[in-house]
């Protein structure tokens, strides 16, 4: 049953996007919107059904059809994973919710709805495909469709070109990472990530660096956040859905999937931490500086992405390093105030008790993060996270 649902999740929106311009040619303008709602709803229902049916499977069942495309990359197929289906559900539900709640006088034109369905199909492939090369191909198609949206909405060739260029920079990072991962002998995602941990540390760092570039662009963290503002120039909810939901969810999911590689070197943890903190700071400054209320929600995605990077950075660093980083300013301050007495200053009174308690607290956080990475918390948090993600997706789109 699950394989059938996976087929529907991928093929239905793709077919819908192709036939929509033809069937809406002689129908009323609302027909295209209803058709899109129907397709999106079916995809969401299939994703939910597959998620529930996945249940107690110890291993995610494969689709049963695997293609061999290029030599040395392994087979490319679809694999039903809880998180992947989850993302599909969030995406489809967000599309349905935003179209249903759209109170605009005119329905979106069929071309833009077809674009949205095409992006839904490609994004679903990206979430469910079992091979990095397949994911790259799907991400390229999504990037092209996202970049074409301003062309249809604003007739802006230059804007579309610049958006596509920026998105392509992220995909170049992804491609470089995938090419380096070939050294593991396969590009099957699970096998490559497992084998990637055994590669030389410098190679792992380049791989993660490439993936992080892709994440940063997709989630629109500074300095790659410009393309997101284009989405706010376009008035259609489908365009907002493309810019505010599809790309960020793809980026966040990528960050989640490459988690096994993030602990390759402490430098990566510091990089994510620093970049996330900088992005968060800039986003908060942007919110504060924007006097117009209507524009204050623009940096929300950047906040989400930055927080994700910070969490990933914390998870990648051991609690000892995080503690050392946090305590470093205190030590410098103590040494500056009293060079001779600096070591003693840390051992007296309230400060001593706080510092003594910190390792236990940090250890607890570190254990929780490790359990999150290995997935032992996944099942327990699944339903809570599902609701939160749905809410977030709808909120971001609206």
């Amino acid at each position: 049953m699950i394989p059938w649902m996976l087929w529907i999740i991928v093929i239905l929106p793709a077919l819908g996007g192709i036939i929509l311009p033809f069937i809406s040619r002689h129908e009323t303008p609302g027909t295209a919107r209803k058709f899109t709602l129907l397709v999106g709803g079916l995809v969401a229902l299939c994703a939910l059904g597959a998620l529930l049916a996945l249940g107690a499977h110890t291993e995610p069942p494969a689709l049963g059809i695997a293609l061999t495309w290029l030599p040395g990359v392994g087979e490319i197929g679809l694999r039903a994973s809880a998180t992947g289906l989850y993302m599909v559900l969030a995406l489809a539900a967000a599309l349905v919710a935003t179209l249903a709640l759209d109170k605009g006088e005119k329905s979106p034109p069929p071309g833009q709805l077809a674009l949205a369905l095409g992006a839904l199909a490609a994004a679903n492939v990206a979430f469910l495909v079992s091979n990095f090369l397949g994911r790259y191909a799907a991400l390229e198609i999504v990037a092209l469709l996202v970049a074409l949206a301003p062309l249809l909405a604003l007739n802006g060739i230059r804007t579309a070109g610049l958006v596509y260029l920026l998105l392509r920079i992220g995909d170049v990072g992804f491609l470089v990472a995938v090419l380096l991962l070939r050294a593991t002998g396969t590009l099957d995602i699970d096998a490559a990530l497992a084998g990637g941990s055994a590669l030389a540390v410098p190679v792992q760092m380049w791989i993660v660096g490439g993936f992080l570039l892709a994440v940063g662009v997709k989630v629109a963290i500074w300095p790659f956040s410009w393309w997101r503002s284009v989405g706010h120039q376009m008035q259609r909810t489908t365009d907002s859905w493309l810019y505010a939901t599809v790309m960020p969810l793809l980026g966040l999911y990528l960050l989640y999937r490459i988690a096994p590689l993030l602990t390759a070197d402490a430098a990566l943890g510091y990089l994510m931490l620093g970049w996330g903190a900088l992005g968060l700071l800039l986003a908060l400054v942007a919110i504060g500086a924007n006097l117009h209320e209507s524009r204050r929600h623009i940096p929300v995605n950047e906040i989400v992405g930055s927080l994700a990077l910070i969490v990933a950075g914390l998870g990648a660093l051991s609690w000892v390093r995080v503690l050392a980083l946090a305590l470093a300013p205190l030590q410098w301050l103590a040494a500056w105030l009293s060079p001779a007495a600096a070591p003693d200053a840390l051992e007296t009174g309230v400060l001593e008790r706080v510092i003594a308690a910190l390792p236990q607290a940090a250890k607890g956080v570190g254990c929780a993060l490790q359990r999150w990475h290995t997935g032992r918390l996944r099942q327990n948090l699944l339903w809570i996270a599902l609701v939160l993600t749905l809410a977030l997706a709808v909120f971001l789109t609206l």
């Binding site: 495309w69 290029l70 030599p71 040395g72 790259y136 191909a137 390229e140 198609i141 092209l144 970049a147 074409l148 062309l151 007739n155 060739i157 230059r158 579309a160 070109g161 596509y164 260029l165 392509r168 920079i169 170049v172 491609l175 470089v176 090419l179 380096l180 070939r182």
Partner: protein
Amino acid sequence: MNTGDLWVVTPLAILAGGAILMYLVGRFITQRNEILALCTTLILGSALAAHGWLSVQTLQATAGTWPAWGHFAPGGVVLRATPPTLLMGSIALALGLFSALYSGRYMTLDQHYITYYPLLLLFLTGLLGMVSSADLFNLYLFCEMMSIAGYVLVAFRRRTDTAIEAGFKYLILGSVGTLMMAMGITLIYRQTGSVALEQPGILTGMWGRAGLIFLWVGLGVKSALVPLHTWLPDAYGNAPSSISALFSGIASQSAFYILLKISLDMGLPPYELGLAFLVISFVNMTLGNLMALMQTNVKRLLAYSSIAQTGYVLFGVGIGLRYGIPEAIQAGFFLILTQAVAKSLAFLGTGVADFYCGTSTIADLRGIARRLPLTAILFGIALASLVGLPPLVGFTGKWFLLAETLPAAAPVVYVGTFIFLINVLISLGYYLPLLAALFMVPARDAGEPMPARIPVSLWMTVPLVLLGLLVIGMGLYPGPWWTMAAWAIY
């Protein structure tokens, strides 16, 4: 005395005889363009079939016993069929077939098309002979044959000043190149007393080294290696689109193949040769892409992008030679295959728009999808492939290039990969506006109705559709074509 396997010379004989035949048919029997195009297509089909049979024979033979024909005292064998020559010949004949078929409608409005088909066949005779030559003298003869036919084909639309200028420029620069080649052959003959291609001891003498330099310059002009490329944009931009498609697909690539073959046969160390190719590749890629960004004429844009694509090929071959990775060379030749298909499709698509709508600039192409939907879709597929969008053949070529060069794990490889990726991003700057322009709403005055759809002749549609299917098919199923590219590393 002529000896050896006649199948080696059969495709050449068909083409050369066909050229004479087509001239006589056009002069004395019929002047209908469709019939001339059909006859030319049949001749090319026969040559391709003979070439196919030769390929089967050659691939079954072992390395030292490949079929050969002819004997020339100072040099040796006149023509030899080797897997690399078969690869280049196959591409040339296939593209020629598409061009001839396309010309059945495209050349109808040209006044002197009865000379077009013989020239096309002569050009292909020269090209096929050049890649099959086993000695320098015959290589020069066939190269000259190809060049002279090429000069006339570029200037074929002599009613326009730009075509005359382009043809004249190509004539001057091409003749300089050919003269350089002749000088080089003379100097080599002075040293060794032989015009054989394989003369590994040539670098020991001053005359041999000088001769090789002259050959490099001459073939560099033919290959359009920067800075000897200045004839190419004018030639491709002003030639009939069917000729531009043929030129961009195989002409300069064949000259590059000859340059590679001669360099290795004359004893140039692969390590140094690879470095030279790498340096040239970086310049070619970057200059080609930057110049393409500034173009408003579609064919000139595609011409400059051809210069950049030559750089990509050189990058793969250079890495393969320098670090001893045959698969990298194979990837370079696979790129020649992919470029032949995608670039030809792009040029032929431009030709359809020019023929039916008189459009030649990017601005003119805006909204062409309303009038020529199938052409726009196929042209869009070609551009998407050149951009490197998966799963089209352009992406597959770039994937193989990166996948086979990165394992060299050397600093110059990483730098080269970075330059390559930057250039791929730069190329978006001119491909994407062109792709977008095809499908935008056409500019029109208020109240003006949408332009009507234009039916395109089957003569032009069939080659476009076949090339489009190849772009998609080769991308989705690259295995046999990757194996074909391996012929280049025999």
